[in-house]
Symmetry: C2
DNA sequence: GTCTATAACTAGATAGAC
DNA sequence: GTCTATCTAGTTATAGAC
């Protein structure tokens, strides 16, 4: 890496941060450059100077979050596969590698938990529309790696089945994040962990069951081989 | 019913139809009053005359589809419960009662299949934001009925678990509809049925497995009691 | 009911002073 | 780099002729 792609300080970074906050709250289309520059106490020309256009700013906001999430997804999947070297990992672990980065990047953001999740939800709800080709490539690569990983655990599923089931998992995650405000209303229980953490656990278990539908026996077999053949 | 809530013909209906088409393709926020009136060959003032405002038009578009979907959901759930009177119905049937109306209302629409699904995806992705209170009531009632129906089949799940799992099912459906264009790319197989029909089947099975997670034994038992105990 | 014309406002982008 | 002022084009909504 011979260049830092995102500004770490200065007025450009300030604009990026403020824009994220507004986009998270109201959605990309509902925020004008004037809203942003006003909130950032910059002049109206600042966005065009620093990002070329409003769309350039949005692209940078999206990429700034999309790229680290994809990278963490790939890294986590690598770690899972390494740990189970040779053996087939449980579905839950692959799904967690896929979903947890959407939460895990929170600590690297200055946004509040609430706004971060709303923003991530919006980003992934429209991911794939008008992305720079470099990012499209990373998205495609990530998707492909996970499809192969799931395919190894669920060898009898067709490519279409795999793709659709992954799509359904994504849908659950995006819907959960986009409706973050209702995450608070639907209490997670009396756990000390954050509500989102508990909800992620729910989604992982739900998704693992869905991914493995029709192959409960084989899935059980991986975790406790004796359970099925011992009679 | 002593009044027909939606115009069946005339210029008002024409505006509604044209607006739907544009909203489906580009999203609500990306379509202006001028775009609509131009496409409908009406004058710019027509929307304000007939619907009071642009928001009034959007609300009517949303309600026109949300209400029949909710009603069909409730009717289908009634039918399922009647047919299994006393006994617990399979999860798949309740889920189908919940999801199929999003597809089933297609025949009552003049939109192409593609645009209809995109529109429904958009409507449900933002359902709950700024709805008229009458519609909010219908949404809440529908949700409540389904939560109770699922609760009967899955009596050991907490209310929070139920609510979240239903939320995840909705997410899968909305994501599938919102990305209709990719439904075509991910081929459904060589079946004669429409791609969407096959995909809905996939989602129902996926969701049934997810809903029943942790209670696979009880669920299997309902459908084929001998399968588990016969050894 | 339908239309034109226009009001009143907001959008993103830019030229040019400092 | 940062600012103000302004341009052009878009927006919704409305007043008033027909």
């Amino acid at each position: 890496m011979h260049e830092v792609p995102f500004p770490q300080s200065g007025p450009k970074r300030k604009l990026l941060d403020v824009a994220e906050e507004l986009f998270a709250e109201k959605g990309f289309e509902a925020v004008s450059v004037r809203d942003i520059t006003q909130a950032a106490k910059a002049n109206v020309a600042a966005i065009n100077y620093h990002f070329g256009s409003r769309d350039g700013l949005i692209a940078m906001v999206v990429v700034r979050h999309l790229v680290p999430v994809c990278e963490e997804r790939l890294a986590r999947l690598d770690a899972v596969e390494k740990r189970w070297a040779g053996k087939t990992p449980p579905l839950e672990e692959i799904i967690e590698a896929m979903l947890r980065p959407l939460l895990g990047q929170l600590r690297k953001s200055d946004l509040s938990e609430r706004l971060f999740y709303k923003l991530i939800g919006r980003i992934f709800a429209q991911a794939g529309e008008g992305m720079p080709s470099s990012v499209e490539g990373l998205l495609a690569k990530t998707n492909d790696r996970f499809k192969k990983a799931f395919g190894k655990v669920l060898p009898t599923l067709s490519g279409e089945d795999l793709a659709w089931r992954i799509h359904f998992v994504s849908g659950g995650m995006i819907h959960m994040l986009s409706n973050y405000d209702s995450v608070q209303k639907l209490p997670a229980g009396s756990s000390a962990a954050s509500a989102m953490e508990v909800t992620l656990g729910r989604l992982i278990r739900f998704s693992a069951a869905g991914m493995g539908e029709g192959m409960a026996v084989a899935a059980e077999l991986v975790e406790s081989p004796q359970a099925f053949f011992d009679f």
